[in-house]
């Protein structure tokens, strides 16, 4: 599998925490689509996703490590398509801490502190990344 580096332009997009969609596939071939709140930049070859509670996604990547993420850059009129492979799950370290900190900061404000604690930071290797530019809206869209 080819080694891909994340381009620097994607980093602010990831850090700005725009919403994303994710697709995984179970071992028996059923795809699973979900919306995720944030994709964390780890390094040029890795991103991390939060593991707060057991879900089909969490189960799927542990059966079939291949995953797909689409990160929306709404203001940038684009989205990024990432092909990933689940590599490992971290329960400590700087990535875990940063993710945990952010999750807990929000949870604590909403009276949800400690309920959906970060169980792990799931680390994925990036297989491919591609930016897709959206066509700019024109009035003809509405008419057409």
């Amino acid at each position: 599998m080819p080694m891909t580096r994340l381009p620097p332009e994607i980093r602010p997009v990831l850090e700005n925490g725009t919403p994303a969609a994710m697709v995984t596939c179970s071992a028996d071939g059923k795809p699973n689509t979900t919306v995720i709140s944030q994709v964390y930049y780890v390094d040029e070859a890795h991103v991390a996703l939060s593991f707060q509670f057991f879900s089909k996604t969490i189960r799927n990547v542990r059966e079939n490590p291949r995953a797909f993420v689409c990160v929306f850059d709404i203001a940038g009129l684009a989205h990024w398509v990432l092909q990933l492979q689940f590599e490992r799950s971290e329960t400590e370290g700087p990535v875990f801490d940063a993710m945990d900190m952010q999750i807990e900061a929000i949870a604590s404000m909403t009276g949800m502190s400690g309920i959906f604690k970060l169980r792990a930071a799931d680390i994925y290797r990036v297989h491919s990344v591609e930016r897709v530019q959206h066509p700019r809206w024109t009035a003809s869209w509405s008419n057409g």
Binding site: P12, N16, G17, S37, M101, E104, A105, M109, T110, S113
Partner: protein, 771 residues
């Protein structure tokens, strides 16, 4: 403006002030300029370490400074907890996501797990927030937070920038807070000091008041016995230690020290401290010499002297008997006292003994290295085994202020005067003065000063000090001793170099007519005495009545021994010497008698033997004529009538009988008695009481000298002296001159020459006659 410039400026601005508000202002403005974040908060960790409080704020419409964030809550609280920068850029989405979760929780009936939403200061619709911990070393002091209502990208470069600014802010805030803390601490310390100073001053004043009251009470208590023992000098402390030590002892005690130094007070202090239940019996030895034969019941096997001593001890049973000027006791009384003490020592537990459980204390003004004339050495030796020296006042000068305070209080209280203090100048004078009269003199000076004082501040001027010591034109130098009749002082003329002796005679006649008559008589008589020109009569320089009402007379100062001392210390004297001394006495008496003056108290002690230039054994007759009158006032002239005519052992029958017409032949009788004593060291008559002695002078025949003397007494001399001892004055030599002539004819085998006399003095009392 470039970021670098902004950073440079923020650094300069932030470090140029220690004012927290200014620092925050710079910080907030900088964030605005650097990142165009228009909403910022600076929060500081509260002392409880659990809360952050907004101390400065910018850009919020309704966010007042003072808002609080619990550590661990929200972005700011989490940054404080983790001490790491945090940037959240999809805050609205994250909050919505969390809110959705919460609703789902509620739908699922899991309310119990949910906490309350906690509002935190900041934008309610913030989309982007960066919070930076403010750290000093590893200690969190606060959080710096900036927010935006729209998503804002925030790269690594911006993170670095904001971190740099945050560090600057943290340092500046820390410094400002330290400065403020120090300022407050210094202020608090200053206030505490002021308060403490006030409290200490108040307390000190209160303690001083208490101390003054306590001191007054203490002085009051001490004054009864301890007056002379007041002070803090090493000497007086030693003295007090000695008192405490001696109080536990039962051994006889001898107190030595100059006149007026407070020996009686020491004796009383020893008695008081001893806890003895009996009385303190004061025996003025100089006054009982002539009296001891009166009224003492004689017990079997005891001499009259022993009975007398015994009676004093009986009075002092379980107490203390104090023999003041013990050396002035007659020799036989000294012997009796010695016997009594020896007996007590042998039988310490004898309760039937009159001396049982009596503490004996004696005193003398004499230095023990030079035993006083007339002292019975075994007694002195016995006493001196346990001796305490009472120092002269000059040796404990530092006690003077305490003593002054004591006496001023006592006198002012007694005299009803209000004296608050002694002026500093006066105190300096009092401290500088030599005090030859010791504490007694100090007391007298202060008593007089208090009496004449018209102010609450006592003044003692130079004159008062001089007067205290001045008798006429004479200044008292040192006390030579004190006795029954008064004190004898060595004195110096104010202008002349010659030394003089001043005798002060105490009396208790209150002011009034009787006293004025007494004074006139004294002056008339003294004038006659002063007119005597015989070189064998002690010269009277001056006389008068001093301020304290004592009669005094100033006479030539003589070094030597009186006949009493010579006999006591060296035993019977050879006849040729006695003749030679008698003849000189006769010449003195002859002149007086010629002027109608009778001595009336001739006795060995008044025959003073001295050296005059190259002449040894030069006789001076002492106490001539002064205060001796055959009037009824005689008794009142002196403190004790029994001592007036001194010594019953030497008293002529006509005086015993109280005859009105007395002439010089009375002195010849007494002179013969003195000679009898000098030749034998025995009195003409032996008696158990003074009355008995006197009676014998009137009735008994004296034992011939030759039967009593150990030495050879020429028959001629014996005849002459026995003639003098005739009861009828008419049968005695007609005059002193005739007696002198008769004595001149007595032949002796070895005449008493000046050389023999010189030799005798050099051998027996070299210091007395040394030039």
């Amino acid at each position: 403006m470039s970021n670098l410039r902004i950073l440079q400026r923020v650094s300069a601005d932030i470090n140029s002030t220690l004012d927290l508000d200014e620092i925050c202002d710079v910080a907030l403005r900088t964030m605005d300029e650097l990142f165009e974040f228009h909403h910022a908060n600076i929060l500081l960790l509260e002392p409880d370490n659990n809360t952050l409080k907004v101390i400065a704020s910018r850009g919020y419409e309704n966010q007042a400074v003072g808002g609080r964030v619990p550590v661990g809550t929200g972005v700011i609280g989490m940054v404080a907890q983790k001490r790491r920068l945090m940037h959240v850029n999809n805050l609205g989405q994250q909050r919505a996501y969390a809110s959705a979760q919460r609703r789902e929780m509620e739908k699922a009936g899991r309310h119990a797990q949910l906490g309350n939403a906690i509002p935190v200061p900041g934008l309610p619709n913030a989309e982007s927030q960066i919070a930076i911990p403010l750290l000093i070393r590893d200690d969190l002091i606060g959080v710096f937070s900036i927010e935006s209502p729209v998503p804002r990208s925030f790269g690594e470069h911006e993170r670095d920038l904001v971190s740099i600014v945050a560090n600057q802010i943290a340092s500046a805030i820390h410094n400002a807070r330290l400065y403020e803390q120090q300022r407050l601490a210094a202020k608090a310390l200053h206030e505490a000091n002021l308060s403490l100073e006030n409290r200490v001053a108040e307390r000190t004043a209160a303690l001083e008041r208490e101390l003054r009251v306590a001191q007054a009470l203490l002085n009051e208590a001490r004054s009864r016995v301890e007056g002379p023992l007041l002070g803090g000098s090493a000497l007086v402390r030693g003295l007090r230690d000695a008192v405490a030590r001696e109080a536990r002892s039962v051994e006889p005690l001898l107190l030595t020290g100059p006149a007026g130094s407070g020996k009686e007070a020491v004796a009383r202090a020893v008695h008081d401290a001893s806890g003895r239940s009996g009385a303190f019996i004061f025996v003025r030895c100089g006054e009982i010499t002539a009296q001891h034969r009166h009224g003492v019941e004689t017990k079997a096997l005891r001499s009259p002297e022993e009975s007398f001593i015994g009676s004093r001890f009986e009075l002092a049973s379980r107490g203390t008997v104090f023999f003041d000027a013990v050396h002035e006791l007659s020799l036989d009384l000294q012997r009796a006292l010695h016997t009594t003490l020896e007996e007590a020592r042998r039988r310490p537990s004898a309760t039937d003994s009159s001396t049982g459980d009596v503490r004996m204390i004696g005193s003398t003004t004499h230095d023990m290295r030079q035993p006083p004339p007339g002292a019975f050495l075994p007694l002195l030796q016995l006493l001196a085994a346990n001796r305490v020296t009472v120092p002269p006042l000059i040796d404990r000068r530092e006690d003077i202020p305490a003593l002054v305070d004591h006496f001023v209080r006592r006198h002012s209280r007694r005299l009803g005067k209000v004296i608050d203090s002694v002026s500093p100048d006066s105190m300096r004078r009092l401290e500088a003065y030599t005090w030859p009269g010791n504490i007694r003199e100090l007391r007298t000076v202060l008593e007089r000063a208090v009496l004449v004082s018209k102010s609450t501040v006592l003044e003692v001027d130079e004159e008062q000090l001089s007067e205290a010591l001045a008798i006429g034109s004479y200044r008292l130098v040192t006390s030579l001793g004190s006795g029954g009749m008064g004190e004898v002082w060595l004195a110096k003329h104010r202008f002349l170099v010659r030394p003089a002796a001043v005798k002060l005679i105490r009396h208790d006649v209150p002011p009034g007519t009787a006293r004025e008559q007494l004074v006139r008589r004294f002056e008339r008589e003294a004038n006659v005495t002063a007119a005597l020109r015989s070189p064998h009569t002690v010269q009277l320089y001056d006389f008068g009545v001093n301020d304290s009402g004592s009669f005094y007379y100033v006479m030539e100062f003589l070094k030597g021994l009186d006949l009493h001392q010579i006999g006591t210390r060296f035993g019977p004297q050879p006849a040729e010497r006695v003749i030679m001394l008698l003849r000189q006495a006769c010449r003195s008496l002859a002149e007086a008698h010629e002027r109608g003056l009778v001595h009336r108290d001739i006795k060995p002690a008044n025959v003073f033997v001295t050296r005059l230039g190259t002449e040894y054994d030069y006789v001076k007759i002492l106490d001539f004529g002064v205060v001796k009158e055959q009037s009824g006032h005689e008794a009142t002239l002196l403190s004790n009538p029994a001592v007036v005519q001194g010594t019953p052992a030497f008293m002529p029958p006509e005086i015993v009988l109280g005859e009105k017409r007395i002439d010089g032949r009375a002195d010849l009788y007494s002179l013969a008695c003195a000679a009898y004593w000098a030749l034998t060291t025995q009195t003409v008559f032996e008696a158990t009481t003074p009355a008995h002695m006197l009676l014998q002078h009137v009735q008994a025949r004296p034992v011939p000298l030759s039967e009593r003397s150990e030495l050879v007494v020429p028959r001629q001399l014996e005849t002459i002296l026995m003639a003098c001892l005739e009861k009828d004055p008419a049968r005695r030599p007609a005059s002193a001159l005739e007696l002198d002539t008769q004595l001149a004819h007595v032949r002796c085998e070895a005449p008493w020459t000046n050389e023999r006399a010189q030799h005798w003095w050099e051998a027996h009392a070299p210091d007395v006659v040394a030039t």
